[in-house]
Amino acid sequence: MAFLEFQNISKTFDGIPAVDDASLEIRKGEIFSLLGPSGCGKTTLLRMCAGFERPNAGRIILNGTDITDLPPNERRVNTIFQSYALFPHLTIFENIAFGLRVARKPDVQVREEVEKMLQIMQLKGHEQKKPHQISGGQKQRVAIARALANKPEILLLDEPLAALDLKLRQRMLVELDAIHDEVGITFIMVTHDQTEAMGISDRIAVMNRGKIQQVGRPAEIYETPLTSFVAAFIGDTNFFVGQVAPAEDADYCTLRIEGFDPVLCFNDKKLQPGQTAYVSVRPEKFRIHTEVPEGHSRLNVLRGKVTDVIYEGGHTDYWVDGPGGYRISVTRSHQRFGLDEAPITWGADVWLSWHADDGYMLEQYREDDEGLLRLPSPADASLLTELPDES
């Protein structure tokens, strides 16, 4: 049974929908991330869970009880705010003790609990300081300690790492994971950073325009995106559009893509011949060859010309002009010593191959989502290539 359940939640602000008929089930003890661009409704969903907003429609069920209309102070749920919202007039000790003091816990117990939290969060020696006297990472830990001191059933984290610099962010991510292992309660985290979400979460809900696009484990979200938004927002990808034609194997279909040889694609959506299919192929799923690759029945091959090479050390990104006006993003990871082979450079004629199982058919495709891709649109690209001629 789901531990926390959002049932058909909708919320509008001044008539503009922020969350639109969202349903979610979150399991006890997991780290669950709400991932999406700013304005997608993820924070609103979190704030409804904390009790700061009431949904216009739908129910929120925690552990079998309906908490939709409970005020924040009557929910056993605590929040880590994006700005941490530490009380500036109180010491670190009193900040952590705040919830216990409000609950009128005896002084001895307060002292004991706060000491324990200071210990876990490595804040010993800072207890008499004021929030403005400690660093960002320490503030973050105080905020977590302050929330956990109340023994919540769920910890809500609103962009917990956004205010930290990159190095600290990576460290805090590991620390958050360790804290989760230690306390074992359910974490719900809001983030717009996909690496953050992928790295720490047991499951992720990807949101866009107030709607939940897909829920699943990080690998499921990455490998089998349901919509073009998920495919483009999480990592990078290439979209292809084609007409479905039958294939020998019933689990597969042949796609007729403009300018391409027939492309074999896994047909888990059971599309019928004649229908339009949208396929996402991740850059690292392609193999790049300088000669015609040895084919087999499930391998798709196309010819193209390299237009850009970005060497990143561990891997190289290639942009390849393929048939049909497609610009294809390809990533090749360097698993062996790279200096003893002839490099693939700008203008090289190459062959790209990918396995029929590595292209994933989308359920829903919106052209706008191409804007999320790393690859510039052909219009921008032509501008770029014209530049050297002018000088």
Binding site: A50, G51, F52, P71, P72, N73, V77, N78, T79, F81, S83, A85, L86, F87, P88, H89, F98, G99, V102, A103, K130, R146, A147, N150
Partner: protein
């Protein structure tokens, strides 16, 4: 020789702040000191200041009426200050939570009455509080007071009108701080188990304490020396120290006596200021 940049900076600093210091010295510190000196001069029959030095004024200050007036001045001023704070905190909270459009409009509404002359506004209260004025009539009609009750010429009238007069001086500094208050802190407090009222007192009020102290100084100090409001809407039984100073100065034409009372008042005003400043220092040192 190269100019020492630190020294140069210091020189610039002195140069820039000097006019302000000179102003304070000429128009504040020296006159205050002068008033203190005059209280040790003899008075003359023509209302001037005599030659030589005397402790006569100190003797005169042992007037049996003065302790009562002093005590009244203190408690009335405190009552006005506390009332102003009690009114301005919730108003500032409300204003700070308003949308930007309404903030400006409502602030303007608060400020507009103060474009009218102060004396006229105080006189207007005389009309309102008059036994035949509308307030007395309404209260009498509602059976809250017997008809013909005199609402004017007592301490309550002085407090009421002073609170009305000084409310913006409390509201503006409190609002200025409240406007910058991070309301996520209120949410954090509620998240940690406070209801709205607990969050208000545990987080919002401490959060605007700077504004509260400023408001306290701005309301308390002028009221300790007030004489216009008690003179117009107060009666003989509600004279404040300011009224006595005016009487000594213009009726008795005893300049040293008035100066002596003024010096007492100056000390009275300085005391709360010193307390507030020390309190702030202590807080900032923490």
């Amino acid at each position: 020789m190269k100019a020492d940049p630190v020294r140069r900076e210091r020189l610039v600093e002195v140069f820039l702040t000097a006019p302000g210091f000179v102003w304070l010295l000429l128009f504040f510190l020296l006159p205050t000191f002068n008033v203190l000196l005059i209280s040790f001069r003899p008075s003359t029959l023509t209302g001037g200041i005599g030659e030589g030095w005397t402790l006569d004024t100190l003797q005169q200050l042992r007037n049996p009426d003065y302790p009562g007036i002093l005590f009244r001045t203190l408690w009335v001023s405190l009552a006005i200050t506390v009332s102003c704070l009690l009114l301005s905190v919730p108003v500032a909270y409300f204003l700070a939570r308003c949308s930007q459009r309404w903030k400006t409009r409502l602030l303007l509404l608060i400020m507009i009455p103060f474009l009218t002359n102060f004396i006229i506004r105080v006189f207007a209260w005389k009309v309102i509080l008059h036994p035949e004025g509308w307030l007395a009539s309404v209260l009498a009609f509602a059976g809250l007071i017997p008809p013909g009750t005199q609402l004017l010429y007592n301490v309550r009238a002085v407090i009421l009108v002073s609170v009305y007069t000084y409310l913006p001086f409390a509201l503006l500094p409190v609002y200025a701080v409240a406007e910058k208050f991070d309301f996520a802190l209120m949410e954090a407090a509620m998240d940690l188990g406070c209801n709205r009222i607990q969050a208000f007192f545990r987080v919002f009020v401490p959060g605007i304490s700077r504004g509260l102290w400023t408001a306290t100084l701005l309301v308390l100090i002028p009221n300790l020396g007030a004489y216009v409001v008690p003179d117009i809407v107060g009666g003989h039984s509600s004279s404040m120290l300011g009224n006595v100073i005016v009487r000594r100065l213009f009726s008795d034409r005893n300049l040293p006596h008035a100066a002596g009372l003024s010096s007492v008042l100056t000390v009275l005003v300085l005391l709360p200021m010193i307390v507030v400043i020390l309190h702030r220092r202590r807080r900032e040192a923490h």
